[in-house]
């Protein structure tokens, strides 16, 4: 019994420092990610990459023998097309479901739906990709008589299903945050439930719902395996929903394994990583600022 108490009192400052260190670890990691990804690509970024061509040329021929070209416009178009389609599907469904779960459900039903949504969010992206590759692929070929089902449509639907849980859960939080007194006041004035939602709740929860959508967008842009497997491998700007595309994320996943370490190709993939990091960082930051906006009001 060599005074356990004494030992504890002495070790507490040490412990507090460890806790503080862990507390700021998230900051360290975010900077670390940016630093290490940037570091791997920095050499080529400052030495040889033509940034104008990088952003404006749709020609992505990183392994061409005669004339290597590194234009990511087609890849950006691929990401954009799939993301936009996913949002067109997921935003109405996600917000609709959020409103339903938050305003029309009894507590039991609400709990059930929330559990299902949680499970939906837990499905690994590679399983989604597999579903796109098999089930959705066949369905699209049958329905549209298309030569191949691995298309923008396929990827968009898969991404929509993946983003919906985020939109629902964050959207529901935003609706829940509207004080009950608003609802009661509106109902006391004789408004129907739908009028309450349309005229009171939606305007009041506007920012939170916007944040929900933004986080859904961030998820869709950053998703890798599902789009890698479900959108085919065609580096081109899509002209219809039934065109195959390739996204920024899928390109990294598909080519990093084959690019020789520290080659130009390898470094360009890291530069794409920096680009992706910056895009999602900006979207997340905006979402955060939007949410903070409500709190200050």
């Amino acid at each position: 019994m060599i005074n356990r108490h004494r030992l504890e009192t002495l070790s507490e400052p040490v412990l507090e420092w460890v806790i503080r260190l862990c507390g700021i670890s998230a900051i360290i990691f975010v900077f670390g990610i940016f630093f290490f990804v940037f570091r791997e690509g920095a050499d080529f970024l400052f030495r040889g990459l033509d940034l104008v061509e990088f952003f404006t040329s749709p020609e992505w021929y990183p392994t061409s023998v005669s004339h290597k070209r590194y234009g990511v416009l087609a890849l950006i178009a691929g990401t954009a097309s799939v993301t936009v389609l996913a949002m067109v599907i997921a935003v109405p469904f996600g917000l609709g479901a959020a409103i339903f779960v938050s305003e029309f459900c009894g507590p039991k039903l609400k709990e059930t739906f929330k559990i299902i949504i949680e499970l939906l969010a837990a499905i690994p992206s590679v399983v989604w990709g597999f579903i796109g590759l098999t089930i959705m692929n066949e369905m699209i070929i049958d329905l549209f008589n298309a030569p191949i089902g691995l298309t923008v449509l396929n990827g968009g639907i898969i991404l929509a299903l993946m983003s919906v849980p985020i939109i629902v859960s964050i959207g529901e939080d935003a609706l829940k945050a509207v004080p009950d007194s608003y609802r009661e006041a509106a109902e006391a004035l004789g408004a129907s439930r739908w009028q309450v939602i349309y005229r009171v709740l939606l305007p009041a929860a506007k920012n939170g719902l916007l944040a929900a959508v933004l986080l859904g967008v961030a998820r869709a842009i950053g998703e890798t395996m599902a789009v890698l497997m479900a959108t085919g491998h065609a580096v081109k700007i899509p002209h219809s929903l039934l065109d195959s595309v390739r996204t920024l994320t899928a390109t990294i996943a598909a080519e990093l394994g084959e690019a020789p370490v520290h080659s130009d190709h390898y470094q360009v993939l890291f530069i794409i990583g920096v680009l992706l990091f910056s895009i999602t960082f900006a979207v997340n930051l905006t979402a955060d600022l939007v949410v903070k906006g409500i709190r200050q009001k």
């Binding site: 019994m1 005074n3 356990r4 108490h5 004494r6």
Partner: protein, 254 residues
């Protein structure tokens, strides 16, 4: 009066929460082994005063303290160990808080935090404190059940037992009777009367009659200012120094 046995000296104490001024520069002394009651309507800074004395004000974000508060002649801001300071002061707040531990562990919590591990010592402390708080007879057969499951009045006495468990020299009670029935209130008041020989008691209350029954001296706080402090015979007489005190005490306002 009795200058040499001042237990707490507060001089020119100002506390602000952001923009809001909770205490506007008050000065008062508390003597050893007296019961000082502090009366005043809500929002007059009574609770803030207690938080300054045991420095839990540090844990309130954006609170700013100016002026000095001394306990046993030592400025609370310069004490070596804030934990030792807090152990010297027992605190009971308006809403009873039974910790989600057994009744035994609730009372043994503070002694353990102070390093007492011996089971026999702990048993003695627990029994003594529960008896002091007039709770022992009701709970002695179920010391292992949860403190949070006791009734409100029992929890408040448990809180008092816990406040006594670290053998404080000063006991501060902040409107302890708010969540307690009148019978329990009377029992706790009896407990306080017995304790006055051992500890210094600061009794913050919104019940004027309670202050009159229990206290040796009474201070009247209003909107963060000290209106008057004097022995009970003066405060509750027909002619206290300040007309507002008379109005408040006689029930004209407040």
């Amino acid at each position: 009066m009795r200058d040499d046995d001042k237990k707490i000296e507060i001089s020119n104490l100002r506390v602000t929460y952001g923009e809001k001024e909770a205490l506007k520069g008050i000065s008062l002394d508390v003597y050893e082994n007296e019961i000082l009651s502090i009366i005043g309507p809500a929002q007059s800074g009574k609770t803030t005063l207690l938080k300054v004395i045991n420095r839990t004000i540090d844990l309130v974000p954006d609170a700013k303290v100016q002026g000095t508060a001394k306990v046993d002649g030592e400025n609370v801001r310069d004490v070596k160990s804030v934990y030792q300071l807090r152990r010297k002061i027992g605190m009971v707040f308006p809403l009873p808080v039974g910790l989600p531990l057994s009744i035994y562990d609730n009372v043994a919590f503070a002694p353990r935090a102070a390093g007492i591990r011996n089971r026999k010592d702990l048993d003695a402390i627990v029994e003594h404190c529960l008896q002091q708080a007039a709770l022992w007879d009701e709970v002695k057969d179920r010391l292992d059940s949860l403190g949070t499951r006791l009734s409100g009045g029992q929890q408040q006495r448990l809180t008092i037992a816990r406040a006594l468990s670290h053998q404080p020299e000063i006991l501060c009670l902040d409107e302890f009777s708010i969540a307690v029935d009148p019978v329990t209130t009377m029992r706790i008041e009896d407990v306080l009367k017995e304790l006055r020989s051992q500890v210094t008691i600061i009794l913050v209350t919104n019940l004027v009659q309670q202050a009159r029954r229990l206290a040796d001296r009474t201070a009247f706080l209003l909107n963060g200012e000290l209106i008057e402090i004097d022995i009970n015979e003066v405060i509750f007489s027909d002619s206290p120094a300040n007309q507002m005190t008379y109005d408040y005490v006689s029930g004209t306002f407040g």
